[in-house]
Subunit: 197 residues, 2 copies
DNA sequence: TACAATTTTGAACAGGCTGTTCAGTTTTAC
DNA sequence: GTAAAACTGAACAGCCTGTTCAAAATTGTA
């Protein structure tokens, strides 16, 4: 039984890999089940033993990604238990995010591009926003000082973050997560101290 | 001849309207040419007299939108010729953007949602970024003070902006463009003066 | 090794959508 | 009224989908 699951997983992984490789060259809509099967060297019918359809396949890939985001953050966040200032904690969260992106960059590069599926950036941003919200709620001062609706602030800051990520991925991950965090902080500082764009 | 074009445009508009209406309920991938033709009450073959395929249709809608963004900004920006401070000019650009979004909200709501086509938010953001870049280049101090690559700053700020827009559209345009601009400025101020998130 | 359970294969099938063709009809402008 | 332009209806080959089923291959276990 245990190995059957192994085998089951192996074929699923084969399908997912072929699919993702194919997405690098072709947009989602243009890829057929036949294409995937051919590249994975399996029978077309076998695909349907594992997935309902193309959308189900992508959905499962997305879900795996979101699950990984959760565990990755929990791992890194719980590593240091020292009390940090609000700013330090935000910085630590930023590094955690960027290192997650680096780790999942092959998949994210595709899912966020125009070869992926519409709305992925919204779903991804929401997953992000949820983590940020939890972090912000720890700080009691925050909500008192914030005058705009929290939802708007979250959309603003997580979208900005996602913007950096997209640029980063587009530039071929030419920086480390630490450098990206520094860059993020520089921009915040620039807005704070420099010209108010 | 002139009216032929008229008629030609009328059918195209009929197709576009039916298509956009349909996109409110069904995702792009699920819509067939037959569906569009049926709703537009035209022959399926007529569709192909105007568009190459479904993608061509959406592309033309997008292009019209981007063209409108250009004219809309040029109009509003050239209205007042008084000399403004950098901050005042940024604010004016923000109002212009938000009023454009309001004007094109029916289409944008769909194109930015998961019913649209993958990558639209990137294309839209790029169009935005181009306008912001032109505005920023006027200010000589800006590039001197900015220490991070301009591309990253642009991605950051335009994505943040787009985040506000998405939230705004999602909330059913419950605020005026002026109120959204105030909200935008409040968030910037909050980052500047309040807690450094 | 032999066996049984599980998984995969190959082939076939109906059904739907695509994009094109073409002769005939309708609409439009002058 | 006429000629050009636009649209219609019907048909078509081609491709992809999702399902079925018996046969074959793979796997773990006795």
């Amino acid at each position: 039984m245990s190995i059957y699951v192994e085998k089951n997983r192996r074929t699923k992984r084969l399908i997912q890999d072929s699919f993702l490789q194919m997405l690098e060259n072709k947009p989602f809509e243009a890829i057929t089940i036949g294409d995937i099967a051919k590249r994975a060297k399996i029978n077309r019918g076998t695909f349907y033993l594992h997935y309902k359809d193309k959308f189900d396949l992508l959905e499962q890939i997305e879900q795996k990604l979101f699950a990984d985001l959760g565990t990755h953050i929990d791992q890194l966040q719980s590593r240091y238990t020292a009390t940090l200032t609000f700013e330090e904690e935000q910085e630590r969260l930023a590094v955690t995010f960027f290192s997650f992106i680096e780790r999942q960059s092959p998949v994210l590069k595709i899912l966020l591009s125009d070869h992926g599926r519409a709305g992925f950036h919204l779903r991804f941003r929401d997953a992000f926003a949820e983590k940020v919200r939890l972090n912000l709620e720890k700080n009691k001062d925050f909500n008192a000082k914030l005058k705009v609706p929290l939802e708007y602030f979250l959309s603003f800051i997580t979208s900005a973050f996602l913007g950096l990520i997209e640029q980063w991925l587009q530039d071929g991950l030419d920086q480390t997560p630490q450098e990206m965090t520094a860059l993020y902080i520089d921009i915040i500082s620039f807005i704070r101290d420099g010209n108010g764009a």
